[in-house]
Subunit: 147 residues, 4 copies
């Protein structure tokens, strides 16, 4: 599936897509990038048996990982390198195996050092989880030298 570029400068967009598609933790969980824009990222994952917890339901860690990834890449879409400081998630509903869950990460405020983000995880019209995250800026992305 093609990744949608909703307004990013092409070089940054290509850099981020390549970086995300080669991120080991995303590959491990089956997380894929779908859309990037300035201060905006959407990633999704198809829920399968490998994501289930001892109750046979999707483990909360998947929602949290996906939401964190969406927020983190919303930050990166501004060319900012940052680390997650605080991440809080409410688990509202569960997804079923075979469904695709999507997290949309957006930014509330981009401060000098701290960046405040949020994400919603959905499947279709159904809200699965809401997340709020705080990030700490550690530098700028250098497209030419990786990271």
């Amino acid at each position: 599936m093609q990744v949608i570029n909703q307004g990013l400068e092409k070089e940054l967009f290509n850099y981020l897509v390549h970086s995300i598609e080669n991120t080991p933790y995303y590959q491990l969980l089956g997380v894929k990038i779908r859309l990037l824009g300035p201060g905006l990222a959407e990633l999704d994952a198809e829920v399968s048996q490998q994501h289930t917890n001892p109750l046979g339901a999707v483990h909360g860690g998947l929602y949290m990982s996906l939401a964190d990834a969406a927020m983190g890449n919303a930050v990166r879409s501004l060319g900012i390198m940052a680390v997650t400081v605080d991440c809080t998630t409410s688990m509202i509903s569960g997804a079923s195996l075979g469904e695709t869950i999507k997290a949309r990460g957006t930014l509330e405020k981009v401060g000098k050092n701290l960046i405040f983000a949020s994400a919603r995880v959905i499947t279709g019209e159904k809200l699965l989880a809401t997340t709020k995250g705080t990030f700490y800026r550690v530098g700028l992305i250098d497209i030419n030298h990786g990271s």
Copy 2:
């Protein structure tokens, strides 16, 4: 490595260990159970390249997943089936590849419907993350019929 039983009735202990060792999401992430006691669970994971984020550091999702798992199994150690409602994590330090990170989940209060838990993620003496979680009770574990 043998799992430590710190005071659980043997049948429940064996049931939980077997259940955890066969949980797909834990297998996917490499999460292993190390200790169970009443209201207490310790799980760990050896950090490897597959857990890394676009910066090459361990993805926050791993700390959150491990902490959620430790809290969830601390709840299950009382024979309670519950789902995570809220989970909030502070990322304090990062682990290095090759290190084993351990989450210890404990319970603050076991109410009729809501259970309040917390977890600390460490490697050696170093504190990596602190987590607070709220769980909603959905039933009791039936050792004889699974879940």
Copy 3:
């Protein structure tokens, strides 16, 4: 200032306005109700010297109290009595003395037992704080017999 009714049945609206205007903690902090709708509440407070912390800035407790109040009354606007379970706030910017800060509480999901809400605290166009809250339903509001 008149309280705006954005779609509540008149009896419930009047009941809630009267109840809020007579709530001691709101009176103590100077918190006033401005708008009620189904699943929606706006309250505000004029920031004054009495709200300041040891640094002379507005104490975070005021933002948290106002946000909690906005979420709690968004829940009550549906005729539901509930208690706050989890409340998490990010402090994004500070208000200045003399400014009026407003919290708008909305609902993400109204479950059988758990209700998920969020609030934004602003002054003018400036975002001061974002809050996420989880509430536990304890009953229904009985307009004729108080609470």
Copy 4:
């Protein structure tokens, strides 16, 4: 009641006690300092009718304000000026009117820019709330020139 000094240098201790006792928001809520040590603060408040919410119970904002104050002063006990970034509270039980509620704030990690703290709010042996907070350092306390 005398404030306990559990190991702070006398000048800083006196400065902080004086500062806290003259903090308007604490006076408004009836919050009093009881103990200070390095990375440690205990404050309390006698719960009265003025703290009640529309249900007649203690408003969650009081627990959150008290917990934030305990964490903030635990930070200040190290001579650090900081602002709250994130604050998340679980409301576990409620206090009754006439009871004294106490928050104990401690520090998990003091980083260069970020400080991670937690607090527990109790009355007697009963746990009322647990809080986790992240603070951002803005400078050092200058005992001779206020703040």
